[in-house]
């Protein structure tokens, strides 16, 4: 296993030039080190980007707020810009692990692992975030939903780095909510997690993004429910719309943390409560 500690973005990209599918980027290490210790991965190459300055920083850009991939959860929850424009991220970051993990865990790493139970990923779905990827040969931007392609699978090529995330500007009158149900109050991986952002104008829903984690092999959008909010609720009202969406858009399983039954039932209840609290519904 070759380990390269990059000190700049160029060094990191150069190091990744001949990366293979088995190569790994190391940021905070809170996912990667666990996988290494458990023998679940044996990379040929590890590129440590923890000291790459270009991956840090939160700043306004033309199309919203830029979050460097190396932004930690602690930085997210202390950033005034994040609180103003993407408060859901700060709320979610506070529920990742506990203080020690938050100090190391990065947003790029959360996305890089693309665990179905990740807490920040559904928030990025709900906020309509874009993922900026860069390699030695070029750069591209993908909507976060296209970035996550399956169970712990992403659209990133081995030679690419997640450079940052762009969160679009917050529309007027957008209502947002986040809810994580874990096994305890801290240091807990989600049994289910929900993030939603709904824009309404005069009681009419103009945009809705509702995402859930730990209820399928990847983070999912609850498109059936979103459509119902646009097009009008079914005769049974909100509860029916939620139930239909949970049935159509999720595929929870039984595992060591919870049961499929619990996940689907509680996801529906949490959604109904969050949406009932939104004045537009």
């Amino acid at each position: 296993m070759r380990v390269i500690s990059a000190r700049s973005l160029d060094e990191a990209l150069a190091a990744l030039r001949d990366a293979t599918a088995a190569s790994r980027v190391l940021a905070g290490g809170t996912d990667l080190m666990v996988e290494l210790a458990a023998g679940r991965t044996s990379p040929d190459l590890v590129v440590d980007v923890g000291a790459v300055p270009e991956l840090r920083g939160i700043r306004p850009v033309d199309d919203g707020l830029w979050l460097g991939a190396g932004t930690t959860c602690t930085e997210l929850l202390h950033s005034a810009a994040v609180t103003a424009h993407a408060d859901l991220l700060a709320i979610a970051a506070r529920e990742v692990g506990a203080a020690q993990i938050q100090n190391r865990a990065t947003i790029g790493g959360n996305l890089g692992t693309a665990s179905p139970a990740a807490d920040l990923v559904p928030v990025l779905f709900a906020l309509g975030a874009q993922v900026a990827l860069r390699s030695a040969t070029g750069a591209r931007v993908l909507p976060v939903e296209d970035f996550v392609t399956g169970y712990r699978a992403t659209a990133r090529r081995p030679d690419e780095l997640i450079e940052g995330i762009v969160v679009p500007p917050r529309p007027a009158r957008e209502l947002r909510a986040f809810r994580k149900v874990g096994t305890r109050r801290a240091q807990s991986i989600a049994k289910l997690v929900v993030a939603l952002a709904i824009a309404a104008d005069g009681g009419v829903v103009t945009a809705a993004r509702i995402a859930a984690g730990a209820v399928a092999d990847r983070t999912v959008r609850l498109t059936t429910l979103e459509r119902a909010l646009f097009e009008g609720l079914p005769p049974g009202g909100l509860a029916d719309a939620v139930a239909a969406s949970v049935a159509a858009d999720t595929a929870p399983c039984d595992d060591v943390r919870s049961t499929a039954r619990y996940r689907s039932t509680v996801l529906a209840r949490v959604l109904v409560r969050l949406l009932a609290a939104l004045p537009s519904c």
Partner: protein
């Protein structure tokens, strides 16, 4: 003179632990030490055909030890001889060790372990203890004539039946198991240093394994990061493994489990099913009890007979009842062996009797507090074994204390079959209580047989050294011994040092278990100190000068005392009649919960507890034991899931082995009650295990109060509560 007892001396071991200077087994520098590990069974039951060595590994780089290399008996010395040190023909649980390997470094060790593949032919595995038939041990307790009572109940009496279940629980000490062993030295002595509760147990196990006299095995405790019972019997296993490897390698060998291995293979709490039949008069008086206790012992006997004994001795609860029958069985399965865990069987049966009491109260429309108080054992009453309580009975005092703090005696419980609860906030509250006692010290004649010894000896500089086999495992032994010795000697705490438990240098005080260290060992220490103080006299001058003068004059500066049971204690092990314990600690808990109606997450917001400890030698440490133990009980009650698939523990990482964090802890309201025990040091009795007993029934009663569904199984996870609520919807 009583300056230290009742004060707060702090923790002499604290600064080193907090600053990271404390030397745990993984930190101990040992020149030339190799690393040891085990090849283990991956299936629950099977016939061992052979162990394949994958080609390509250079076996000269490592040493391998098999069952045939055990110089003494291939038996893990404990209550029964059924557990081999290394399995030879049959494996009986996942993780059972088959071969041992030592290597100069960890990567080589891992490569060697990976190159050894046991070929095991599977046999049918028994994984459901409720249908298991092989009985490891049985216990019967009989009082009065319950059969006749049940057959012809007095008019107005009602019969209640209930079945209560508890799942397993992981001790989750912070520091995993580990030790270092050295090959026999010139005079044939095998040395082991490690993380443990009971050095003298380890010594005995090594003697059996090597076929040597106990004196030829020397066991030294290192700083130990918690035990909770998990380091009572299991360190003997690690020590035998390391010592066998050291012998084969001709050099020291260290074994330190990583968390994964520790969670997979070490013993955990016995799962239980307890069935109660209770005959109750209309006014709530308990007329007769019939209790059936079943425990899952796992693959080997380990300490199960004693756990079962304690479970049964607490099965009828802290209640008076003239006619009692208790039948207990612990059965063998192909699970990892169950073992010692704080409470030692009592939390399981305490859960059952306390929930049974709630059930009775509701059916009779009596208040659960009033029902408990009405039936509570008082001074002069006799327990299920016929033990008459002469002394130190804080039963009513603890009940009244929690009532005063919480108003639980006026709380209106919801009916079990009430409509689906609802609230605007989406949260509902509930209150529940429990009342419990815990026998302190070894059961029955255990202390008599054990004859725990303690020495106090003057050092040349005039300080007094406590020499005991009792270990500091984070619970405060060092502080408590210092306080007791200082007051009994009439010196400053700075004049007392506590020797490192080293079997070559301290007498056998008995194991650090069973809430006995303060009460039993502490009482021996106090009497030895008083004799020494009398010897050197109370003349003028500070303690150290007087001690030096005594030594200079040729005085004997060593006093060793042996425990003697208080006069009048009688126990018949054959019939389970008599004085089961020298005395009991008493306690009552009130849990207040908030349940989220969407997610069924249970928040224990407040836990009020009153505990009769006889005398709090160090009140802050006592409070620490109480809140820590109660939190462990709360975790077991609702979030600590331990399950297995095909006999393999599924919670094999800290990410999945969930215990409460500080954020999950309730507000604690602790009242310490002191009803002194005449034979304890300064009146003290045991407190270590008691707080583990009452949390689960109180929390589950509170959940039942909040949701109106019967909570009859520990842990009451949100998933289980959802299933209960759905079941109720279907049937109503």
């Amino acid at each position: 003179m009583s300056a230290c007892v009742g004060s707060d001396l702090g923790r002499p071991d604290g600064p080193a632990k907090v600053s990271g200077r404390a030397v745990y087994v993984a930190d101990l520098a040992v020149a030339g030490a190799w690393h040891g590990g085990a090849v283990r069974s991956t299936i629950a039951h099977g016939r061992v055909l052979r162990i394949e060595r994958k080609p390509g590994f250079d076996w000269r780089r490592v040493v391998v030890v098999g069952p045939g290399d055990v110089p003494g008996d291939n038996v893990q010395e404990l209550l029964s001889d059924d557990q081999p040190i290394l399995a030879e023909r049959v494996v009986r649980h996942v993780g059972e060790p088959l071969l041992l390997v030592a290597a100069p470094d960890l990567p080589t060790l891992e490569a060697a372990l990976a190159a050894l593949r046991p070929i095991v032919e599977p046999l049918p595995a028994e994984l459901d203890f409720e249908s298991a038939t092989r009985v490891l041990h049985e216990v019967s307790i009989d009082k009065g004539d319950p059969g006749a009572r049940f057959d012809s109940p007095p008019p107005g009496a009602r019969l209640f039946e209930g079945t209560w279940r508890t799942d397993s629980q992981e001790q989750l000490y912070v520091e995993p198991q580990g030790c270092v062993a050295w090959p026999a030295d010139a005079d044939g002595t095998v040395v082991v240093r490690g993380s443990m509760q009971c050095p003298h147990y380890v010594r005995k196990a090594l003697a059996r394994c090597f076929g040597i006299a106990p004196e030829r095995a020397r066991v030294v405790q290192l700083t130990t990061g918690g035990g909770f019972g998990g380091k009572e019997e299991y360190p003997s296993v690690v020590a035998c493994h390391a010592a066998l490897l050291a012998r084969a390698a001709g050099r020291p060998v260290r074994i330190v489990y990583d968390r994964h291995e520790d969670l997979l293979v070490t013993p955990k709490r016995h799962p239980s099913r307890v069935h109660h039949r209770t005959l109750v008069a209309a006014d709530g008086t308990l007329l007769a009890m019939d209790v059936d206790v079943l425990l899952d012992g796992g693959a080997y006997t380990t300490l199960s007979p004693v756990v079962l004994s304690r479970a049964c001795l607490h099965a009828s609860g802290p209640y008076r009842c003239e006619h009692v029958a208790i039948r207990g069985r612990v059965v063998a399965t192909n699970h990892v062996p169950s073992g010692a865990f704080r409470g030692f069987g009592a939390p399981q049966t305490c859960f059952a009797i306390e929930r049974q009491m709630d059930r009775i109260a509701r059916a009779l429309d009596l208040h659960p507090f009033a029902l408990r108080r009405h039936n509570a054992l008082r001074l002069g009453d006799a327990t299920a074994t016929g033990q008459v309580l002469h002394d130190s009975v804080g039963s009513l005092a603890v009940l009244d204390a929690v009532a005063a703090r919480t108003g639980i005696d006026r709380h209106r419980w919801c009916a079990p079959a009430m409509a689906v609860p609802s609230s605007n906030s989406g949260r509902v509250r509930g209150l529940g209580m429990s009342f419990f006692f815990h026998g302190a010290g070894f059961t029955g004649s255990g202390e008599e047989l054990l004859k725990g010894r303690v020495a106090i000896r003057l050092l040349p500089d005039g300080r007094a050294e406590v020499a005991a086999g009792s270990t500091e495992i984070g619970q405060g032994t060092t502080t408590v011994f210092t306080a007791i010795a200082a007051d009994a000697l009439g010196c400053d705490p700075g004049d007392v040092v506590v020797a490192v438990p080293d079997t070559a240098a301290v007498p056998d005080s008995g194991p650090t278990v069973a809430s006995r260290t303060c009460m039993v060992v502490g009482s021996v220490l106090a009497s030895a100190c008083r004799e020494l103080a009398a010897r050197i006299g109370g003349a003028a001058g500070d303690f150290r000068s007087r001690a030096r003068a005594w030594l200079a004059a040729g005085g004997d500066g060593i006093v060793e005392h042996v425990y003697g049971s208080p006069p009048g204690l009688v126990w018949d092990q054959a019939t389970y009649r008599g004085d089961a314990y020298p005395c009991y600690g008493w306690a009552a808990d009130v849990a207040e919960v908030e349940v989220d109606l969407d997610t069924l997450e249970v928040d224990v917001v407040r836990l009020t507890t009153a505990v009769d400890v006889g005398k709090a030698i160090q009140p802050r440490l006592v409070e620490g034991q109480i809140t820590g133990g109660a939190l462990q009980a709360i975790g077991w009650a609702q979030c600590e899931v331990v399950s297995s698939r095909d006999g393999r523990v599924q919670q094999d990482r800290l990410a999945t082995c969930i215990v409460p964090t500080t954020k999950d802890a309730p507000r604690f309201d602790v009242t310490i009650v002191e009803q002194p025990y005449a034979h304890g040091p300064f009146g003290a009795k045991g407190v270590g295990e008691l707080p583990m007993d009452g949390g689960a029934p109180a929390v589950l009663a509170a959940i039942e109060d909040a949701l109106g569904v019967p909570a009859d199984r520990v842990p009451a996870t949100p998933e289980r509560l959802l299933a209960l609520l759905e079941q109720r919807e279907r049937t109503s």
